[in-house]
Symmetry: C2
Subunit: 164 residues, 2 copies
DNA sequence: CGATATTAGTTACAGATGAAACTGATTACC
DNA sequence: GGTAATCAGTTTCATCTGTAACTAATATCG
């Protein structure tokens, strides 16, 4: 695809943004995410963080706020704000964990389950339309490749971000 | 990978976030982008929009602000702000197009080229490390799949976002 | 030619974001 | 038991973001 250059130092390769993987992922992901966000906002008044919280609480709830954060890769600030809004709208319910009173116990309310039941098919439909251009083999490959990239990002990007 | 469900209506599939393509793309892309953004910011004081502007001006400049926007998929507001900061730092130069005085003509300054020459190998290195876990065939497949998804997103997401 | 529409780019505003500071509760450990 | 360290979650602050409104210049079309 491209010769592995590993920091040749001088201004070697021209670096075309169009072929730069992080850039391409960012553009694609943003396009998809903002389009979906618009749909969720217009039809259900939900932001992406709120939608994510509902999805994991529906599937794995009840969970603490930390539990939600862990399953959505959102930081605790984002989760806290999403939870706050969902509580206002009574789509989730919050109790305090009696065993550890720092922790809260979050679960979907009946209305929350209703919203989930309404959003889920829409989400799945968006996904299936989006990937309708891919063959079964493509989808399998993409799945595998994304997993590989995930791990790759995990292993070296974190340390790259904190090294000199 | 998963049966194509196309809006079955009722609360059929459980919808696991972990397997939801838009979510996975978003998490992966955000992780990569924020890690890279940190590196650029710490080492060069550049934000992602600034870096993108430099990259396309180095490769295709001189360009108008609109030209930069078109080649980076950033909207004109973002470009305007990035350009403003780069002008302050004298990494780019701006002239007015005499043929159409609404237009500006942007080009990298010598210092801008220096920064580009410093950043580009770093960027390429990040990319090659990131995709080092992929085989040549994987990379080719990913390239093709991303193009397909791009077109797929373009064709139906836009209208999905504006339909009832 | 002159009124109107369109385009390039900037500014104002409102909301989202993450880092860091903070509060209250729990654990570790002497 | 009591102090220090840690943890769950919230709030603050400074920054980034997109939408919409705006300015200035050009194009359109009578």
């Amino acid at each position: 695809m491209k010769p592995t250059s590993h920091a040749t130092g001088s201004a070697a390769e021209p670096l075309d943004l169009e072929t730069f993987l992080p850039y391409r992922l960012s553009v694609l992901s943003n396009r998809i995410s903002t389009a979906i966000a618009r749909v969720y906002a217009r039809r259900f008044g939900l932001s992406i963080p709120e939608w994510r919280a509902i999805a994991v609480l529906g599937r794995f709830g009840p969970l603490s706020a930390n539990g939600v954060a862990g399953r959505t890769y959102m930081d605790k600030v984002r989760v806290s704000r999403a939870v706050g809004r969902l509580l206002e709208r009574r789509l989730i319910e919050r109790a305090t964990d009696t065993a550890d009173r720092r922790r809260s116990i979050l679960r979907l309310s009946p209305e929350g389950f209703e919203i989930l039941a309404a959003v889920a098919p829409l989400a799945l439909d968006i996904e299936s339309r989006l990937s309708a251009v891919l063959s079964a083999k493509d989808r399998a490959n993409l799945d595998r490749i994304l997993k590989l990239l995930d791990r790759s990002a995990e292993t070296f990007l974190e340390k790259a971000a904190s090294s000199p």
